[in-house]
């Protein structure tokens, strides 16, 4: 492994977000600058997977010093190299500065975003090259598989996973060990494993990050599972929208095969396991396991009734065990460090850690891994650094389209499967979308219902038709035509869909409406009764106004208005013609004097 030979390593993030922020240009500039300064044999540039703090990308970490650099630009590189690597003093300009302070925090582990995290699944993030199996092995990679195959009977492995308390990280939270045992206990010559990497929840991207930053941990987890259950073949069903993840997982499989860690006779035993990558076609419902199986078989991904469960009759009619990416990535650590160690983390019924994507109206957005039981407040205001621009927190949406919106009064809730369900949301795959006072909760409910209408597979009536009726009512409300009775009808419809839909997508489809009605009913009432959108979002219920005191007549708004409805002389306050205004908001965005308000 290369890390030994160099004095220092600078680890550049090559997750999708950082790459889109041109981290590869930073890499080129760094390598050129190091060469120019004759440092190329002392300082090594290492490409890593996603390091999690996506908001601040492109980011880089200098090791072993543990110095964190953010928002790097090519122009910063000469000074950074000179200051840090020649003169030995970290370069202040690219350091992280907390929102409420002007003192830079140089060390990664002293930054609020990082210091409260607990890395189990993401333990290798930012410290190794995901495209190099040797580096994974150097960090104890494939040791758990060796231990499982050489020293543990399948029953013992399953017992260990059961004892660990690990539950499915994809949404349902079903105990992983029990699922494995069901699949193991079915007699069959052929069994299959599936890794669900069709991360469909909008706002969640931890699975993408795991596949991009540590693909071997997923392969190792699956190989252990295959050995325990008695499967010979596995499929990784990954979103086609994640090209980098597809590429890295394919490369990882090739390398593992080359090293004899996948394929025939693993570790000299008679255990064979082969893996295939299948690219998803872009259908949210394929996160449901029977739909996913149909998709792998080459059919439209429509769920079927269960039982029979996939453990009995799954892929091509054979016993099949399906877990999601994060679940699989937990397995090597559980086997290596033992269930007793793992059980210490978390709450009574939810063990271990969970990776959340903390996004939306939040200062520090990115991926965070925290022990179960931490409060939402700690995540949002501690790690996340609160809400930008001095705005007020309104809600956090957890669990994607099947989840719900949690209000401020419940922020001290310890995060685990049960507590989130009690609050009307779900853990889901771990998307936490933070909303502030400028987010309209009726609009959010409509957003999710629109999503689900689009993604409903159309097989059962409650979901196919019921959701369209809900959408119509929500549109009526946001268009300013709502009637008092509409809220009651929404509640009744939600209840019917929940009780009668065929699969989990339908059964939970009403959650976004139910939770917004439960916690933000006054906002619905404002839309229906007062014909107002308090958050200033619903176009039919708002108007834009220019403040005479604040407007200096710079004409920026008038120039940007697509319908030319803003008039006024230079250096004099402007006026918006309300009849022509389309409420696109371009003027508000263009105004540098905060003179445009929404009423």
């Amino acid at each position: 492994m290369n890390t030994k030979r160099f004095r220092t390593n600078i680890m550049i993030c090559a997750g999708t977000s950082c790459i889109s922020n041109k981290s590869m240009e930073i890499r080129v500039a760094l390598e050129a600058e190091l060469k120019k300064r004759n440092l190329e044999n002392e300082v090594q540039v290492v490409i890593t997977g996603c390091q999690g703090f996506c908001e601040k990308g492109p980011i880089a970490i200098v090791q072993p010093d543990g110095i964190f650099y953010q928002l790097l630009e090519v122009d910063d590189i000469p000074m950074l190299v000179e200051e840090h690597f020649l003169k030995g003093r970290p370069y202040r300009k690219c350091m992280y500065v907390p929102t409420d302070s002007d003192v830079p925090v140089p060390k990664l582990m002293e930054i609020e975003f990082f210091k409260h995290q607990m890395l189990v699944v993401l333990k290798n993030r930012g410290r190794m090259d995901p495209e190099n199996i040797d580096e994974y092995i150097a960090f104890d990679g494939y040791q758990a598989l060796a231990k499982a195959v050489n020293d543990m009977a399948p029953d013992k492995i399953i017992a260990e996973v059961e004892k660990s308390g690990l539950r499915g990280r994809g949404g349902g939270g079903f105990p992983t060990g029990i699922k494995w045992r069901l699949a193991k206990d079915v007699e069959s010559d052929i069994k299959y494993l599936i890794c669900n990497a069709d991360e469909g929840d909008p706002g969640a991207y931890m699975d993408r990050s795991i596949l991009e930053s540590d693909p071997h941990s997923v392969l190792e987890g699956m190989a252990i599972g295959a050995y325990a259950i008695g499967a010979q073949e596995g499929y990784i069903y990954v979103r086609d929208e994640y090209p980098l993840a597809v590429e890295r997982i394919k490369r990882a499989i090739e390398q593992a095969k080359e090293y004899g860690l996948l394929g025939e006779g693993i570790f000299g035993s008679d255990f064979n396991f082969d893996l295939h990558v299948v690219r998803g076609g872009g259908a949210f419902v394929c996160g449901e396991e029977t739909a996913l199986i149909a998709s792998i078989e080459g059919f439209p991904g429509r769920p079927r009734t269960r039982p029979p469960f996939p453990a009995e009759r799954g892929l091509w009619g054979k016993p099949t065990n399906n877990n999601n990416v994060e679940t699989w990535a937990n397995i090597p650590t559980i086997i290596l460090r033992g269930a007793d160690w793992y059980r210490q983390i978390g709450t009574e019924k939810s063990k271990g850690t969970k990776v959340f994507s903390l996004v939306g109206k939040i200062n520090n957005s990115g991926l965070v891994e925290v022990p179960m039981g931490i409060s939402l407040r700690e995540i949002i205001f501690g790690i996340g650094g609160g809400i930008p621009d001095g705005k007020k927190f309104k809600a956090v949406q957890s669990g994607g389209p099947s989840g719900g919106c949690i209000p401020e009064s419940l922020l001290d809730l310890p995060v685990d499967y049960e507590k989130l369900t009690e609050a009307g949301a779900i853990m889901g795959s771990g998307g936490l979308i933070v909303m502030d006072e400028t987010t309209c909760m009726v609009n959010v409910a409509l957003y999710f219902i629109n999503f689900l209408v689009d993604e409903s597979c159309g097989k059962c009536v409650p979901c196919r038709v019921g959701l369209i009726r809900m959408k119509e009512i929500l549109e009526k409300i946001t268009n300013g035509n709502g009637e008092e009775n509409d809220i009651a009808v929404l509640e009744a419809l939600s209840d019917t869909i929940r009780k009668t839909a065929l699969c989990a997508l339908g059964a939970t489809a009403a959650n976004p409406v139910l939770t917004t009605l439960r916690y933000f009913k006054e906002e619905y009432i404002a839309h229906v009764r007062d014909k107002k959108c308090p958050a200033g979002v619903c176009k039919a219920l708002i108007s834009f106004h220019i403040s005479e005191e604040k407007c200096i007549g710079c004409t920026a708004c008038a120039k940007t208005c697509p319908v030319q409805c803003i008039s006024g002389e230079r250096k004099k306050p402007h006026v918006i013609n309300q009849d022509a205004c389309t409420r696109c908001g371009a003027c508000k965005e263009a105004c540098r004097f905060d003179a445009i308000t929404i009423a």
């Binding site: 706002g203 690219r279 076609g281 872009g282 259908a283 998709s295 080459g298 957005s365 371009a586």
Partner: protein, 148 residues
């Protein structure tokens, strides 16, 4: 259409690989030409209706030709709360197309997409394979100018 035969071969004419074959064609042609689907149906020996079912079920497929550059506006939740619909509206206005539409000159196709997994950068659009994040309406003009 030689390519279609190669793709069918690549997947050993496996019925279970129909989606993968169609993805490859979608990627190289930008859509699924009817002729290509007819060849697959014949070679894999499945009815054409089976391919039509797949093509209309999955978001990844298009049965009509698309523009030279595909603009994917991320409509994931994080992008939504950060103003993705304003970005979409502005693009619709400037390009004079509806969602799913292609500009008259064949330069752009505008599509909404569920979530591209760059939630920290929202609102995000992806043009071709290039991501553009933390957008405001006024950034869009310069971005589109990069694509001829």
């Amino acid at each position: 259409m030689q390519l279609v035969y190669q793709i069918v071969e690549k997947y050993d004419r496996r019925e279970s690989s129909l989606i993968a074959m169609m993805q490859d064609i979608q990627k190289s042609e930008g859509y699924l030409p009817q002729k290509a689907l007819e060849i697959i149906a014949k070679e894999v020996q499945v009815p054409l209706s089976r391919l039509y079912a797949l093509a209309t079920f999955y978001k990844a497929f298009s049965l009509t030709p698309r523009g030279r550059h595909i603009i994917h506006v991320c409509t994931g939740t994080a992008c939504h709360v950060r103003g993705a619909d304003k970005i979409m509206d502005k693009l619709k206005r400037d390009l004079n197309v509806e969602e799913g539409g292609t500009t008259e000159d064949g330069r752009f196709t505008l599509e909404g997409v569920r979530c591209v997994g760059c939630c920290g950068l929202g609102p995000v659009i992806v043009v071709g394979e290039n991501f553009h994040g933390k957008l405001t309406q006024k950034d869009l003009g310069n971005i589109l100018d990069q694509y001829k």
